[in-house]
Each structure stands twice: as structure tokens, then as C-alpha cells.
Symmetry: C2
Subunit: 170 residues, 2 copies
DNA sequence: GCGATGTTACTCGGATACTAACTGTCCGAGTAAGCCAGG
DNA sequence: CCTGGCTTACTCGGACAGTTAGTATCCGAGTAACATCGC
């Protein structure tokens, strides 16, 4: 389907709420984040598990556990998040068509397999441009942009929502 | 799976053999190209059908029919081919998570839906870089590179292969 | 000799499997904080 | 007091179902070049 999965979309949106968390608020749990964003809980849990394995977030278990960023948001790029969740997959998968050419019937055509296929070179170069672009954006920068585009009171509303959810569990 | 399909790979490899076709050789058919490259015939037929609808190649029907480039190879970019075959699909599909936030319970949150989501902006910018990179390569340039990387006699071998296939049909 | 007919090799287009990946759900296990009772 | 067990709300991890997109195959229809046959 799409090259960047919805898991990345869920993850990024939720990660933004882990940036600049006030001291008074404990680490949000997956349930907190999922219900806040309106995304499926169990699926988001898998996403955050991948983020943890990639070393982007830390998890504390047990009651009042939750997630927090493993390093400063300035040091986490969008590319980091994409790779953590979707894996390091390419936009193109070279099938090495060169080696199948009918003119060399039988013999394995030594030259056709050596070096990289020019077509895949073009694709991989394009992918590099894509990833360079993603790597230019950090969570810090992204959060700044998002908050700037929201009404000023919204961020406070979210924080009190998170706090209430911790106080009156169900 | 991959953002750029194997159909594109098949199509590109076959299109290269339509560039700089000597006058003596008639338009190759899909069967010619498919067997030359070792790719499934019927699937390649669909690929070339898309290329035709996109105006990149022209088809002549009937016996001794086949395909030829619709315009000079300098004016056909890799991006043209990708879009013709895979359609103009994005690497990302924004689900508009913003509008689902739990803090505005019920009311539709006017501000959350206006403007573009910052996250999708990043993704679409990255896609633009990707497409810019693909658009920099023309079929002419690509063909030149490929031929330069092959033994000099290979191109002749292919041409005689095509010619024989036309003479002794089966 | 010449026109009608048939054959062949194409493209065109729809219908249909098969496979893999993405998305989402369910459930059991381990873990830590807080509470509570029993010594 | 305080120590051990219980409850609770988390994360962790595997298994699995539903859906979708990509890949591939099959078949019928239309088309044009060419050969063949009958007049």
C-alpha cells in the first residue's frame, strides 16, 4: 500500500505528546495516548514496542508505568521514527532482470550480474533523497510547528486531560 | 510492498530496447520483449497497455504489430514511466488523526481540520524530493548508461535476436 | 489475374486466482506500585 | 510497626483473522498482414 504505514502516522502523532512533557505529569501509557488520539490501543502498543526496541523511547513497567522519550527530541528525526516502525525497507526491489536476458541462453552471463543495475541505482538515489528529506525534521522542530498552529489553550487542555486520566483511573 | 512496483521494473527494462531502434527492425511486440527479458508475457502486456494510455508509447495492431516510443527518449523521464504504470500514488496517506483528539468530545473542532497536517506536509515534501530525483533521468540518458556498461557486442546480439524472432515465427 | 476468404499474430480488456503485507484483535505472561491484613 | 500477600494497571510477546494491493494467469474480442482458393 503506502510506503509509510499508518503505524508511523499513529506513532508520530503520539510521540509529539511525549515532547516537552511538564514535570508534574507522569509518563503516559499506551492506553492514554491511544484514547487521546482515537487510535486502536493494541495496535499502538505494537508500534511503541518497536520504538522501544529501536531505542527511541524508554518504557517503565507496572502500575503507573508508561513511555518517555529516550533522548532529547532534537536528536530524534522523522526518519528515525519511520525506520523504527516500518523497518529499513526500500522503495524498490531489484529483481535483477539483467541476468535473464534471452540472448545468453544457458550460460550465466558474467558481466550482467556485476556492478549495480543502472535502473536500481536511479531508484536508490531517489530513495536517498526521500530519506534525506525526512532526516531534516526532528521531533522538536515538528512539535514546535504543530503547537504553533493550534490554539494556545489546546496544549493545556491535553495536559489536564492526561492528568485527570491518571487520577481517576477506571 | 515496495512503493515502486515490479511492473515498473519490467516496463523500464523493456522500454530501453525501444530506444534507438535501428530502422531495419520492426516494432517489437510484447511477446518479443517479454521473452527477451524473461518476464511474464501477459503481465507485461498490461504494463504496456498502461504506458500506451499514458501516451508514452504507440501501439500498432494486427500481424507484425508492436510498440514504439510515442516521443523522443529525451522527453520521457523515469518519473513519467513510474506514474504511468503505478499511478500517481503517494508514499503516505494522511488519516487526519488531528480531528480525533479526545479533548474535543463531540464538537467537530474547527481549527483541527483546516490547513494541512504538519506531519503529512513533511511526508509530501519528502515525496516531492523523491519525484524530483526520478524526473532528472530520461530514457535517453538511462539507455546511454546501460549500453556503456555492457560489452559492445551485446547490443548487436539483441538486435539480431529480435530480427530472427520476426523472421522465423512460431 | 484478381477479388473474397481464412489464417495468423498481434493488441485490447475483463475476470479471476494467488500471495504477501498491512491492519487490527485477542489472550497469556511478567512487572511494579499501592493497599491491606496479620503478626 | 512492618512484612508479606493481593490487587491493579501497566508493558511484553505470540498467535491469528480481515482486508487490501500487487502479481500473475486465462480467455474472448477486435485488427491488420498475409496466404490461399475460387471465379
Amino acid at each position: 500500500m503506502t510506503h509509510i504505514s499508518t503505524g508511523v502516522e499513529y506513532g508520530l502523532h503520539c510521540l509529539l505528546y511525549l515532547v516537552n512533557l511538564p514535570k508534574g505529569i507522569s509518563n503516559p501509557s499506551v492506553r492514554d495516548l491511544a484514547e487521546l488520539q482515537g487510535v486502536p490501543i493494541e495496535y499502538l502498543a505494537k508500534v511503541f514496542n518497536k520504538l522501544r526496541k529501536a531505542g527511541l523511547v524508554n518504557a517503565t513497567e507496572g502500575v503507573s508505568g508508561g513511555y518517555r522519550l529516550a533522548r532529547p527530541s532534537e536528536n530524534i528525526t522523522v526518519l528515525d521514527v519511520v525506520r523504527a516502525i516500518d523497518g529499513q525497507k526500500g522503495i524498490f526491489d531489484c529483481k535483477n532482470i539483467r541476468g535473464r536476458c534471452a540472448v545468453f541462453i544457458g550460460q550465466s552471463s558474467a558481466w550482467a550480474s556485476q556492478g549495480t543495475c543502472k535502473i536500481s541505482s536511479i531508484m536508490y538515489e531517489a530513495q536517498t533523497r526521500l530519506e534525506e528529506s525526512l532526516a531534516m525534521h526532528t521531533l522538536a522542530h515538528l512539535t514546535y510547528q504543530v503547537i504553533a498552529s493550534e490554539p494556545v489553550e489546546h496544549q493545556d487542555s491535553v495536559m489536564t486531560w492526561l492528568q485527570r486520566r491518571r487520577q481517576y483511573r477506571h
